[in-house]
């Protein structure tokens, strides 16, 4: 291989490839680049998957680029986007509405606020520049209540305050958060929130089922509840007073804020409220209140007021006059309606004119005279039609006008009846009788008029007869009729007198009631006495009333009282009456029925009680009781005083009462014999023997079975008599100690004796055998000593002092038992 130039020598074998490349670049470089580009394009065409990724990377840039150039992309995408949104809403509107909620709220509110603000501004202007009735009312209120106008405005200003806020989970009604303006914790907030949800659901279910609407306002008195809803929560504001409109927008703003901040937490709410502590601070700005803002708005337009007052006054005066005229007219109509003979059919007002249609009786008052003073006749048109009124006053006027009564006749008219009294000429009387019924309104007539032409004759008759007040004389033509009541005497005299009056053609007194005629008196007696059946009454010519028959005392008494009161009755004779309940009659009846033995006396007291006394057998007593009941008018039968002398129980009762038998004695009674048995003292035995035969029914007293307990007593007496006390000679000193024991023994014996007879007495006799004066003294001392000792034993002893020399010396006191009663008897 030939040598290469130096430059070629420097080229190393490893650099050969690079050199080749360099050379290739130099020769075919531009073509190679073109080939690469062509290859790339070729690749793009043959491998489309790779290009999707590229497009994804390039797409945002491309769109941005494209949008900056022109609108064609927007145009191209518009139908697709619209369709996609429509499809999305159709499938499920919730995601889209959730997404749009935070945006739509502010947008809508902004628009509404703008509209309302514009409206309010023009309204405010209108209110302030024009006349406000509210303003005047407040002015008047201020004047009346002595408060400044500003105070009244303040009182009436719209004041409000948010008091509580509830954040409630919309679906479950669970309370998420609660705030109160005074920081207090409402114990039942969770219940309230649940209930509020339930109520909202209920209202929606009831009135708009299936819709998504909800209550957004509840009002009770001055409390108002604002309710806002977001997709997940309900916000409820409890407010007092009238709330301003912007509170709604404030609430909505906060609702959106909460929804934005806590959307995820709300969506996943499982009852755990600890996640929502931050909500309190977020809602704090909603706890607003307002007092002043409104006050400023109520500036009152004083100038308008000044202009309005005179206009008001003028209007007031005009209305007042119109009202007064109307009132006068009304009063006039009322007066017409109340006036007899005037009927108002129709009345109306035509502008300033009053028109009236009605009916008028010729006798009625002229309507014009009834017109009130301030009502001008110029403004009134009255149209009357004639008619006849049936009102009494008018009918009477008509009667007087037609009949023209003479002054002696007195006419009156009530309830359709014409009454005529007094006197009138015979011609006029026939005139009134003929004409009166024909007068309109007269239904009946009662015409009793004296014929003035007959007056002298009537006077003469009255003077001659001198009729009592009870008699009415009527003279018709020349015939006299007498009516009323009088006595036989007057009537007889009157008849005689009338016979002698020549002018009189006839007289009739058949209807006169003769008060003292037997027939009339009997009639009176029957009416007043009302006699029961069985009684006949009669009146004789001497005007004596007789009563016959059977009756009771009560009627007899009453009839006497009534008979006395019958005028013109001379006397009343009732001794022929048989009084069925008179004691005497009743006694007769009783004797007949009871058939008492001679030993029994019957009597009847004035109160109809039948008494029986005396002695009778038990059988009769029993029978008498039955029979007594059968006697009419006997009210009671008393037979306590009738005794059966041989009645065992009665005799025994009497014996016990009289004899007072001691415990040991039994009594018995059989067939007139009284038996006594048992133990008794002599005294009792003796007494019983005296008294027993005196007891009624006791024929024989048999005390053979009574043992005399006094026998024992005598034994005791013997023992006592056998005891003597010994004393030392010439002294009142016991001879030994045994003497005391003796006294004790004496005491015991005496107690036994006393039990047997309470009349037992112990006799102590002191004895001295000395002679001379000292003997008495010693005997006395001995007895006294013994008595004292006995007294200490509870026994009183009689002391007897004897100073004699006795045969047996050695004792100084001896004892004896005596029966005091016996001694007394002796």
């Amino acid at each position: 291989m030939p040598d290469l130039p130096l430059s070629e020598k420097t080229i190393q074998p490893e650099n050969d490839q690079a050199a080749m490349q360099a050379l290739r670049d130099l020769i075919v470089g531009p073509e190679q680049e073109k080939i690469e580009v062509l290859e790339t394009h070729l690749n793009e065409i043959s491998h489309p998957v790779a290009t999707v990724e590229d497009i994804a990377r390039a797409l945002p840039e491309s769109i941005r680029l494209r949008i900056s150039e022109d609108q064609s992309l927007q145009h191209a995408l518009q139908p697709v986007t619209e369709q996609a949104i429509q499809e999305s809403v159709r499938n499920n509107p919730k995601p889209l509405s959730d997404a749009l909620f935070p945006i739509m709220g502010p947008a809508i509110r902004k628009s509404i606020n703008h509209t309302i603000n514009t409206m309010l501004q023009s309204m405010n202007q209108a209110v302030e520049n024009s006349f406000s009735i509210q303003g005047i009312r407040w002015r008047i209120q201020a004047m009346r209540s002595d408060k400044t106008f500003a105070e009244i405005v303040l009182l009436n200003t719209l004041v409000y305050r948010v008091e509580q806020i509830f954040v409630i989970h919309r679906e479950s009604g669970l309370l998420i958060q609660h705030i109160a303006n005074d920081g207090s914790i409402e114990e039942d907030a969770d219940l309230i929130s649940s209930m509020l949800t339930a109520v909202t659901d209920f209202v929606r279910d009831s009135f708009a089922p299936g819709s998504n609407e909800a209550i957004n306002n509840l009002r009770m008195g001055e409390m108002e509840l604002l309710i806002g809803q977001s997709p997940h929560i309900t916000l409820a504001l409890v407010c007092r007073g009238s709330i301003p409109h912007d509170l709604y927008s404030m609430m909505d703003e906060h609702l959106e804020l909460l929804q934005r901040e806590y959307a995820r937490a709300f969506a996943n709410f499982d009852g755990d409220t600890s996640l929502f502590v931050g909500i309190k601070d977020m809602l704090r700005p909603l706890m607003v209140s307002d007092y002043r803002e409104r006050e400023e708005r109520k500036k009152f337009p004083i100038h308008a007021f000044i202009v309005i007052i005179p206009v008001m006054l003028a209007l007031l005066a005009w209305f007042g006059w119109a009202w007064y005229q109307q009132r006068q007219w009304h009063d006039f109509i009322q007066t017409l309606r109340n006036t007899a003979g005037i009927v108002v059919l129709h009345e109306k007002k035509n502008g300033n004119h009053f028109v009236l249609y009605g009916m008028l009786d010729p006798q009625a008052k002229e309507p014009v005279t009834l017109l009130p003073p301030n009502l001008s006749l110029k403004n009134i048109a009255m149209h009357w039609r004639p008619y006849y009124s049936f009102e009494e006053a008018l009918v009477f006027k008509r009667i007087v006008q037609r009949l023209k009564p003479p002054p002696e006749a007195v006419l009156s008219f009530t309830h359709g009846m014409l009454t005529a009294r007094g006197a009138a000429p015979a011609a006029w009387i026939s005139h009134i009788k003929l004409r009166a019924p024909l007068i309109l309104g007269v239904l009946t007539t009662d015409i009793q008029l004296r014929d003035m032409d007959l007056e002298p004759l009537a006077d003469k008759i009255a003077r001659l007869l001198m009729p009592p007040d009870t008699i009415v004389l009527t003279l018709k033509g020349l015939a006299l009729t007498m009516q009323g009541e009088t006595t036989q005497g007057w009537l007889k005299q009157a008849k005689n007198t009338l016979e002698n009056i020549g002018e009189l053609q006839s007289h009739d007194e058949t209807t006169v009631l003769v008060l003292d005629s037997p027939a009339y008196l009997l009639q009176q007696a029957m009416a007043r006495l009302q006699p029961p059946t069985g009684i006949t009454l009669s009146v004789d010519k001497k005007r004596v009333l007789h009563a016959h028959g059977k009756t009771l005392t009560a009627w007899a008494k009453l009839s006497r009282k009534h008979a006395v009161a019958i005028p013109y009755l001379a006397s009343y004779h009732d001794t022929d009456l048989l009084l069925l309940d008179a004691p005497a009659y009743l006694k007769k009846q009783a004797v007949a029925r009871l058939k008492p033995p001679k030993s029994v006396a019957l009597s009847v007291s004035s109160d109809h009680v039948l008494h029986a006394r005396g002695e009778a057998t038990a059988a009769w007593i029993k029978k008498a009781r039955i029979q007594a009941k059968k006697i009419r008018y006997i009210t009671q039968y008393r037979d306590g005083a009738v005794i059966d002398p041989f009645d065992r129980a009665r005799v025994l009762r009497a014996a016990r009462k009289k004899l007072k038998p001691p415990k040991g004695i039994t009594l018995d009674y059989r067939q007139g014999r009284l038996y006594a048995g048992g133990k008794a003292t002599t005294d009792w035995i003796a007494r019983a023997q005296t008294l027993a035969p005196k007891i009624r029914g006791v024929m024989v007293y048999d005390d053979r079975q009574v043992i005399n307990v006094m026998k024992e007593w005598y034994a005791l007496r013997a023992s006592i008599q056998g005891i003597h006390l010994s004393f030392q000679a010439g002294t009142a000193t016991f001879a030994g100690e045994s003497e005391q024991k003796k006294i004790k023994n004496i005491a015991e014996l005496f107690i036994k004796a006393h039990k047997l007879s309470k009349y037992s007495r112990l006799k102590v006799t002191g004895i001295s055998s000395l002679y001379g004066d000292s003997a008495n003294k010693i005997a006395s001392q001995r007895a006294v000593l013994t008595g004292k000792i006995l007294l200490n034993q509870g026994i009183r002893a009689m002391q007897q002092i004897t100073a004699i020399k006795v045969a047996r010396s050695g004792w100084g006191v001896e004892f004896d038992l005596v029966d005091r009663q016996k001694r007394e008897k002796q």
Binding site: H169, R170, E171, S172, G173, L174, L175, D188, D190, L191, S194, M195, A198, D201, F202, R204, D205, D270, G271, D272, T273, S274
Partner: protein, 166 residues
């Protein structure tokens, strides 16, 4: 504290209100006052250290003319289904109501079935076998009595446990 909404569901007159009153206020009255609309009760329970504030919605009883509105069921975390042991047909009503509840909520929530008025032994119309058949299906089921208080607390406490566990 966790709050839970619980619905009382059942036919009319099965004793829903009596059960809630017994559970919340421990009281019972024989008087029957029909619930118009609904009443809400609150009972705080403690379950394994977790305080549960149970908001019990005592809803009016299901009747043919007046179905229980689904809006009251929304957001419930648990339900007490109540039937009357003296009227077996009220069991069917609970089945209908359970179906409606699940359709409304789109999820299964814990529930307990109470067969009430167990104190009325002479009118009781369900046999032991029928009761066994009801509980076999794995239902949390109790016979209860608002009058004696039988199983009332137990049922509510079990429901609370089930709700906290879910």
């Amino acid at each position: 504290m966790i709050q839970k909404k619980v619905c009382m569901l059942g036919g009319f007159g099965v004793g829903k209100t009596s059960l809630v009153e017994r559970f919340v206020y421990s009281r019972f009255t024989d008087e029957y006052i029909s619930t118009m609309g609904l009443k809400i009760y609150r009972k705080r329970l403690s379950n394994n250290g977790t305080d549960v504030n149970m908001m019990v919605w005592d809803i009016y009883g299901e009747e043919d003319k007046r179905k229980v509105a689904t809006s009251y069921m929304k957001g419930a975390s648990g339900a007490i289904l109540v039937a009357d042991g003296t009227r077996p047909e009220t069991l069917d009503t609970t089945t209908v109501l359970l179906g409606r509840l699940q359709d409304t909520l789109k999820v299964e929530i814990p529930w307990v079935l109470l067969i009430n008025k167990h104190d009325l032994t002479d009118q009781w119309a369900l046999s032991e076998a029928q009761l066994k058949a009801l509980s076999v299906a794995g239902r949390p089921m109790y016979t209860s009595s608002a009058k004696t208080g039988k199983n009332v607390e137990t049922a509510f406490e079990q429901l609370a446990q089930m709700m906290v566990r879910v």
